[in-house]
Symmetry: C2
Subunit: 394 residues, 2 copies
C-alpha cells in the first residue's frame, strides 16, 4: 500500500509523555499552508486540543498538526488550553510558521496536565525528522490501547491526473456514534476548493465514522482532520464528475479506517453490520441500526454467536422510531428468521448460528414503512472487554 502523498511530511518521536520511551509525539506537516476540514466530538465535554483546533480550523487553512498519546489534556481547565497553545507555538517556531496554522490532538488519560516542559525540547528534532515517507511512524505514534496501526489508501484518476487519499486512525475504546469518532488524519494531494472540502468531509464522516461504535461513548477528544496539498495539479475540485470520483475515494478511506477501528475495538472478537431498510427516512433507519448495534443484549449475543433475533427486534422497538412490529422482517446473513414480526422457527435459528459464528456478519431489518436506509457497524461485548475495562486504573 502507498503511504505517502505529495506535499506532506510525517514523523514520530518519544518525548517522555508515556512511560517506557515509546513514541508519543507525532507531527503531520504540509509543505505550505493548505486547505483543511475537520470534524470534532459532539460530546459537551471537550478536551483542550479540541477547543483549540476547533477554533483554528475556522480559518480553513492549516500548516501542521501535532499529536500526542499518553495524555488527553481534558478536564484540565484553562491551564490545559495554555499547555496546548504552548505546544503549538513551539511547533510553529520550529517550522518558521504561524502558530494559528498549527492544530493539535491528544489521546490518553484525562485530568492530568500535559508535561509541556518535558515535551518542548523534542519539538525541533521532530520537525527535522518529519519526512514524506514517515506516515507509518506517525500512525504508530498516535496509538494507545490499539492492537496495531490503522492505515488506508485510495487512488483516483481525475482525467489524466492521479490523486491519492491517505489516512490513519487510532482508537479502541470510548468509541460511539454521533461524532468524528476517535483520532483520524487524512491527507490528499488533490487540489480542492475549501468550502467543498468542508461540506464533503462532513457528509462522508456522517456516512462512515458516525455509523460505527465500540461502546457507544464519544470521547472528549475525538477529532478527524483532512488536508489537501493540491500538489497533484488538478483543477480545484468543487463537485461534478471529478468531485464524485474523489468523494468515492475519500469514502473508501474513511470507511476502511472506521471498520479497522471497530475490528480493533477493546476485547472485540467479531464485527456485525446492522442494515436497516424500509424505514420512514434515512434518519430513522440509522437510528434503528444504531440502537440495535449498541444494545448490550445484542452485543453479548454476538459474542456468543447466538442469532437472538428477539433481542434485535426488542432493541429496534426501543429505538424511538415509529415502526409497526407486525411488518418487520429480519435476516442474519442469508437466513430469514422473522417475517411480518413473527418468528419463522424451523431450522432457521440453527442455520443463522453459522452466520453469527463468522468473523463478521450482517443483520438486515426491513421495516416496510418507507424508503429510508441506514447501517451501523459494531463489535461484540466480550468477557475480554469487561476484563480490560474493569481493570483499567486511573
Amino acid at each position: 500500500m502507498k503511504t505517502s502523498v505529495a506535499g506532506f511530511r510525517f514523523g514520530g518521536i518519544s518525548a517522555g509523555i508515556e512511560e517506557g520511551r515509546r513514541p508519543d509525539l507525532a507531527l503531520l506537516v504540509a509543505d505550505a499552508d493548505v486547505p483543511v476540514a475537520a470534524a470534532f466530538t459532539r460530546n459537551r465535554l471537550k478536551g483542550a486540543p479540541v477547543l483549540l483546533s476547533q477554533d483554528r480550523v475556522r480559518s480553513g487553512i492549516a500548516r501542521a498538526i501535532v499529536v500526542n498519546s499518553g495524555n488527553a489534556n481534558a478536564c484540565t481547565g484553562k491551564p490545559g488550553i495554555e499547555d496546548a497553545q504552548r505546544l503549538t507555538r513551539a511547533v510553529a517556531v520550529a517550522l518558521e510558521g504561524d502558530e494559528r496554522r498549527v492544530l493539535c490532538a491528544s489521546t490518553g488519560p484525562m485530568g492530568v496536565r500535559l508535561p509541556v516542559n518535558r515535551i518542548l525540547p523534542h519539538v525541533d528534532a521532530l520537525a527535522t525528522l518529519a519526512r514524506p515517507e514517515g506516515f507509518e511512524e506517525f500512525a504508530a505514534t498516535i496509538l494507545t490501547v490499539d492492537r496495531g496501526p490503522k492505515i488506508a489508501y485510495a487512488e483516483v484518476s481525475l482525467g489524466r491526473i492521479k490523486v491519492g487519499v491517505l489516512g490513519c486512525a487510532k482508537g479502541a475504546s470510548m468509541i460511539g456514534p454521533n461524532m468524528a469518532t476517535t483520532l483520524a488524519f487524512v491527507v490528499t494531494d488533490a487540489a480542492i476548493e475549501g468550502r467543498w472540502l468542508r461540506s464533503s468531509l462532513k457528509e462522508e464522516v456522517d456516512l462512515t465514522f458516525n455509523d460505527v461504535s465500540v461502546d457507544g461513548e464519544a470521547s472528549p477528544n475525538d477529532s478527524l482532520f483532512l488536508l489537501a496539498s493540491g500538489r497533484a495539479g488538478n483543477k480545484p475540485l468543487d463537485g461534478g464528475a471529478d468531485g464524485r470520483a474523489f468523494r468515492a475515494a475519500l469514502r473508501d478511506v474513511l470507511d476502511d479506517l472506521a471498520h479497522q477501528v471497530v475490528r480493533d475495538g477493546i476485547g472485540a472478537s467479531r464485527v456485525m453490520t446492522i442494515e436497516v431498510a424500509g424505514a420512514p427516512d434515512v434518519k430513522a433507519a440509522r437510528q434503528v441500526a444504531r440502537r440495535v448495534a449498541c444494545s448490550p443484549l445484542v452485543k453479548t449475543a454476538l459474542f456468543g454467536a447466538s442469532p437472538d433475533w428477539g433481542r434485535m427486534l426488542c432493541a429496534a422497538g426501543n429505538a424511538g422510531v415509529d415502526l409497526d412490529p407486525d411488518r418487520v422482517d429480519l435476516w442474519i446473513g442469508g437466513v430469514q428468521l422473522v417475517a411480518d414480526g413473527v418468528a419463522l422457527g424451523g431450522d432457521s435459528v440453527e442455520r443463522a448460528e453459522q452466520e453469527m459464528a463468522r468473523e463478521s456478519c450482517t443483520v438486515r431489518l426491513h421495516l416496510h414503512a418507507g424508503q429510508g436506509e441506514g447501517r451501523h457497524v459494531t463489535c461484540d461485548l466480550s468477557d475480554e472487554y469487561v476484563r480490560l475495562q474493569s481493570q483499567h486504573r486511573l
Copy 2:
C-alpha cells in the same frame, strides 16, 4: 413482613409450560371487580398479553390477572392474541366472571406459541387453590432467571384506618428505563377513586421503576398492575393528606421492588445510584443520570470498583443535555473528585476507590445550571453478565 391485604387471593401452580414441573402459572384474583391502574412497556414491540391487557385496563376495572413464566407470547402474531384470549376466558369461566375483567402477563422466551391446550386443564385447580395467604407462591411462580422473589410491603394510617400496600416483581434482564420495567403486581386494601389511582400510579412509576436499569433495554412484555380492593373501608382516596400518605407508601413499595430488581440484575455484584442536581430541569437531570448509569464504560468501572470520574463526565457530556463542562462538580460517596470540571487529584481517587468497592455507592453530579434534580439506579456490567447473556440460547 406481611404478605396479604384484604380482598385478594393468590396462587401458583405447575401447568407444564416450563420444563421440570416448576410452578409457571400464577393467579391474582380480587373478591370482586375492583379499580385497576397499569403501566406497560414503551417498546414499539409489544407481547400479546400487553396488547390484550392494555386494551382491557381502559375500563378501569379488573377482577383477576393470570400470569405465566416460561413463554413471553411475543412475536407470535394474531394466533398469540387468540392464545391470550383463550387463557383469560378459561380463567373467567373458573371464577364465574367476565373475561373482559381478566388481565394477563407473560414472561419467558419470545417467538414460541403459548401451549394453551396444555395449560387450560390446570386453570380450575389454580382458581380453587388461590388463597389470601398465597402471595409468596404467586411471587415465586412469576420468576424466570431471577435469583429469588422480590416482595415489598408498606402500611399507612389514614386517620384510624390502616391500609396496606403489597407488591412483588420479577426481572433480571432486558431491564431499562422508559417503561413499567419488568412484571410487577401491587395490591392494596385502600379504597381509591379510579382516576386518581391511575394518575398516582403513572407518577410514582415514573419516579421509581422508570429510573432504574440493568441493561437499558425495555422488554416487549413489561407490565405493572395496581389493584385496590377498598376493603379497608376508608373514604375513597383522591388526593389531600390521606392521598399523600398513601402515595408515600406506594412509592416505598415501588422503590423497594425497583431496587430489588436492580440488585438481582443478571450478573450484578454492585448497585450504583447516580444523583444529578443543578440541571436546567428535572427531565435533563434524569437524562444525564440515566446516560451515566447506562454507559458500559461506567458499568465496567463499577464492576472493577474503579472511581473513573472521567468516564462519568464523558457519559454526562454525551447525554444530549446543554451542560457547561467547566462548571460540573462530581463526588463519589463523600469524596469530591471534580470541581468546576477539573480533576482534583491528590488522594481523592484512592479515597473514592473505597466508596466504589462497597455493595452500593452513590455518584453525585452538580451541573450548576438550574434547579432540576434526578437520579438513576443501576448495577455493574460484570464478566458474569457477559457469560450468562452470551451463553443463552434460543
